[in-house]
């Protein structure tokens, strides 16, 4: 496996909520101002720490949803039942309120705009977040690297960034997969990701694309196995799995 260095010490910084956007009924994008933010790569994540008045604190990790933009940092947080941090972030936090944040973390599951290999992104549910950061980083850099995204969600209402992903973005092909309910007029019946989905929505293995797979463990296991079966090199498949770690 390749190596990537991320030197330096990660200090806790104060992040103040600037604005929020609803992505679905249960997921919200939070935009923070983080003075002194050192920048990050698409695909990296941060740790968020909340502290109560009596000193109790809780930490969770969240993927960055957008490329570096000065002191602005964007996260998309799925509110999880009983998630003490996610519920506060999506419902309890008001503009101007502080949380603590440190990062960026992770030097492996990243895409750099200087890279020119074709890219295949495979997202399950909230696993779209770090992959969306890659699509946005590509657009921000004016890169012409060809991207394909296969995005599996339960129903059309569960899509994050729906309007943005519907807008034409030359060089970025998006294939939605619905596992429970499809939009009207869809020819594919609802169902889990199949070999055919990744065969038609992805790149041929001969193109040797860089593959990024992110989602719940079962989804990632299945998608990575399909990519191997289609002939992709295991060393070209990077995975990130969401357990309840986003709670």
């Amino acid at each position: 496996m390749a190596r990537a260095a991320v030197p330096g010490r990660l200090t806790w910084r104060v992040a103040r909520l600037a604005e929020t956007r609803a992505e679905t009924a249960t997921a919200r994008t939070l935009v923070f101002d983080v003075p002194g933010w050192p920048g990050h790569l698409a695909g990296q994540h941060v740790d968020v720490r909340l502290t109560a008045e009596d000193g109790y604190s809780a930490q969770r990790s969240y993927s960055l949803a957008a490329p570096a933009d000065g002191d602005r940092v964007e996260l998309t947080v799925q509110d999880i039942a009983d998630g003490e941090v996610s519920s506060y972030l999506t419902e309890g936090l008001s503009p101007g309120d502080p949380v603590e944040l440190r990062g960026p973390i992770g030097g492996w599951f990243v895409w750099r705009p200087a890279e020119t290999n074709p890219v295949l992104l495979v997202a399950g549910g909230s696993g779209i977040v770090p992959l969306m950061a890659m699509i946005r980083a590509r657009r921000q850099a004016g890169s012409s690297t060809p991207f394909r995204l296969v995005y599996s969600v339960r129903t059309p209402a569960d899509r994050y960034y729906a309007a943005e992903l519907r807008r034409p973005d030359p060089g970025v092909d998006v294939t939605p997969i619905y596992t429970r309910a499809t939009p009207e007029g869809s020819s594919r019946p609802p169902g889990r990701l199949t070999v055919a989905d990744l065969n038609s929505g992805g790149w041929p293995a001969e193109f040797a694309p860089d593959c990024f797979v992110c989602g719940p463990t079962g989804f990632v296991e299945s998608a990575a196995d399909i990519l191997l079966a289609l002939g992709h090199d295991a060393r070209k498949i990077k995975t990130e799995r969401f357990g309840p770690t986003g709670a």
Partner: protein, 199 residues
């Protein structure tokens, strides 16, 4: 104490158990890995210890099964913040595997099927602190959790408990592994919250 976030009270307080700083309890067994799950057949599996002088010690699956096993029940702590208490394993102690290995090395670099590596001081593998584990909770270890066998070294963050373990290189000098090269802490003691470089 950190900056207070107004209106945050927290629901994760459980006074009866002490967790390392920044961790929370989970009942699940989440998976963290960097690539596809390697599928390794037991007939092909082997485990190698290579000393600093290049001497090799090798076990196949049958030889591993013939060694005395232990059944540790341990708490595990993942750097992604979850902790799971009282996990039950079966495996062979590294004390057993290293008993006849002649070495003066100070460091170990674990390598795995699939290419993953992780490093730790050799002394952290000894004295009842580490196992090559092949059963979890009474069943054969599932491949997504590192089967057929993984390293289990529960006093360090769980990325040190390398899945799909294939061998150990004993070294005079510390050599950082996969996550250790990608910004994570070289040692990874959860009780000192050594998550990232510089912690």
């Amino acid at each position: 104490m950190g900056i207070v976030s107004p209106g945050f009270h927290g629901r994760g307080r459980r006074a009866e158990v002490e967790l390392p700083p920044g961790q929370y309890l989970t009942e699940d067994f989440p998976v963290l890995s960097a690539g596809p799950t390697p599928r390794v057949r037991r007939e092909e599996w082997e485990f190698t210890v290579t000393t600093e002088t290049g001497e090799e010690h090798r076990w196949d699956w049958r030889e591993l099964m013939a060694l005395p096993s232990e059944t540790p029940t341990v708490d595990i702590h993942c750097v992604t913040k979850w902790s799971k208490l009282g996990t039950r394993w079966e495996g062979v102690s590294l004390d057993t595997l290293l008993a006849d290995v002649d070495t003066a090395a100070d460091y170990a670099l674990i390598h795995c099927y699939g290419g993953y590596t992780t490093n730790l001081p050799l002394e952290d593998l000894l004295d009842g602190q580490a196992w090559i584990a092949y059963r979890y909770d009474g069943a054969d270890l599932a491949s997504e959790h590192g089967g057929p066998a993984r390293l289990l070294v529960p006093h360090l963050y769980f990325w040190k408990s390398a899945k799909w373990v294939r061998g150990i290189r004993l070294l005079d000098e510390d050599e950082p592994g996969f996550w250790e090269t990608a910004g994570y802490h070289d040692y990874g003691d959860p009780w000192r919250e050594q998550r990232y470089q510089g912690d």
